[in-house]
Amino acid sequence: MDSKKASRRKFIKSGAAAAAVGAIQSASGQAQAPAPVKRSLKDEVAYGERSQYVNSIRIAVTDRPSPDEFGLTFHVLTPLQDSVGIITPSALHFVGTHRGAIVPDIKPGDYRFLLHGMVDRPLEFTLEELKRFPSVSRIHFLECLGNRSRAEHKTVQQTTGLTSCTEWTGVLLSVLLKEVGVQKGANWVVSEGSEEVKGAGSIPLAKAMDDCIVAYGQNGEALRPQNGFPVRLIVPGFEGIYNTKWLRRMKVVDKYYMTYNDYGHISKDPKVAALNLRWGPKSVITFPSGGQKLPGRGFYNITGLAWSGGGAVKKVEISFDGGHTWKEAEIRGDVHSFAHTRFGMNWKWDGQECVIMSRCIDELGQVQPTREQVSKVYNKPPDYYHDHGIPGSDNSVVPWKIASDGSVHNGIA
């Protein structure tokens, strides 16, 4: 045992030494530097590229043809299976658009943001003026209502890839609303984008005054065009569609304005109606997840992401027996409100077939339900939601089945 430890230490030491000089041992024992990476001047100086060996990419949604009948890509999924930490690289952020990937080309100098309606002093701002306000930088997830796991999905990118997490920088909407002076009787705020359809949505004034951000920064740089350049709205914890991209106008109004986007999301069922505003507690295991393969029995770091529209993640639990018993996972990293939160658990796989799944418990005490629990709420047979979409925003538990050969599969059905 001791000698084993010693040799391991020696191995680590020599490995560390090799790494320190950035070299590998050649057969002759002399250090030999790897060939340098071939880089363009643009890459080397102006804007760095990732390693040619890193090939994690987004894919278009697989639930409908893409490009669609109009030649447009509809929604694009983040490769959660490759994610580490909690920040989604801007280039890998998911994309959801109103009706196809039409991205308006807005010159920053031409940009104007109009804030009006039931206010004392309507104002229009340039991008430069927005940047002169006191700024905040906050880490928040975004998630599209279309993020619904289905039995036919092979990977976590397909089951859950319509969510990403970003450090957003901008001015609090409440600061701008105080600047224009909201009048008595106002209850809702309608926001509108600059894209071809001028996509609009309504949020409660209480939320607008609470923690929404008129954002121009994404992970330390300007927003990406697909994510709303130059300015978008961030409504923490709410469905993606309310986070209006290419924000051009907000109007303070007295009542629910029932825009096209709002109407598509309404419901007669009070339960579903409320589920369609903010996300519930949600989580998913990203490793091991569908399409991956465990090379054999032994130690693994189970890891995944948890988040909630209710605020901060309080606890994440993992089940190995189909959701009968749950063990608390470790939170590995910082916990932010309305943000992806990294969790993990040390695990020794015994080589037996098993099903693993995670559930999130948030600061409000809300618990992420299994599909069977959702079925009970809506008075459906236990397996009903194996091949039906879950009403409202789907925050059901995603199970992964690990076969005895180590291959990992969707465990929904």
Partner: protein, 198 residues
């Protein structure tokens, strides 16, 4: 002179009053002209108070639909490559052996066509006006938008063929789903109304 002083006094008092109510802290941004706001503001609320002058009926809407909408939405309002607009008694069956494709939000099917499901006719006017026709958005005149709205409402059995819609009559249209929704509620720290402790 006295008048000027009085005027000054009024202005100062006015300013104080404003400052007392709620004054801008940063003084950034500029005041838009009423014309700028009118040009930018395309939101139509359920009361229809922003609706422009103009009018139209389903009779005028039919040829417009055929000319500008049918190419994507189908000549009868369904079966096109764009979402269904008109309810049909026999919905087109899925391909043999196939199942209905999953519908990403907002999902339009027979029972959720806009002309039936939207609680307010103003929503239809607003959306046609801001988003149609695809590729030529915001080119329709108010008369055309009124006529197309009337056409969709008529084809879905909501209004008669000869009913003229304008800024006064459009918000009065009683939509079949007017009471068919619950206003989403939100307060800081409010859990969702879902059994959260399984």
């Amino acid at each position: 002179m006295v008048l000027r002083n009085l005027l000054l006094l009024v202005m100062v008092l006015g300013l104080c009053g404003l400052a007392f109510a709620q004054s801008p802290t940063y003084g950034l941004g500029k005041t838009p002209t009423a014309e700028t706001i009118r040009a930018w503001d395309i939101s139509i609320g359920p009361d229809g108070k922003e609706l422009p002058e103009g009018k139209g009926s389903a009779k005028e809407g039919a040829p417009l639909y055929a000319q500008k909408c049918a190419v994507c939405h189908g000549k009868d309002g369904y079966g096109g490559r764009a979402p269904q607009l008109i309810k049909v008694d026999a919905a087109p069956a899925p391909a043999p052996g196939g199942k209905q494709p999953p519908c990403l939000s907002p999902c339009i099917r027979n029972e959720t066509v806009m002309g039936l499901y939207s609680p307010y006719a103003t929503t239809i006017w607003d959306y046609i006006n801001r988003g149609m026709p695809f590729g030529k958005e915001q080119t329709l005149t108010p008369n055309e938008v009124y006529a197309l709205t009337a056409f969709l409402l008529y084809k879905n059995g909501v209004i008669p063929e000869d009913q003229v819609l304008d800024a006064q009559s459009l918000p009065q249209v009683k939509m079949p789903n007017r009471d068919g929704y619950v206003l989403p509620d939100w307060k800081h720290g409010m859990p969702r109304p879902f059994p959260n402790k399984p």
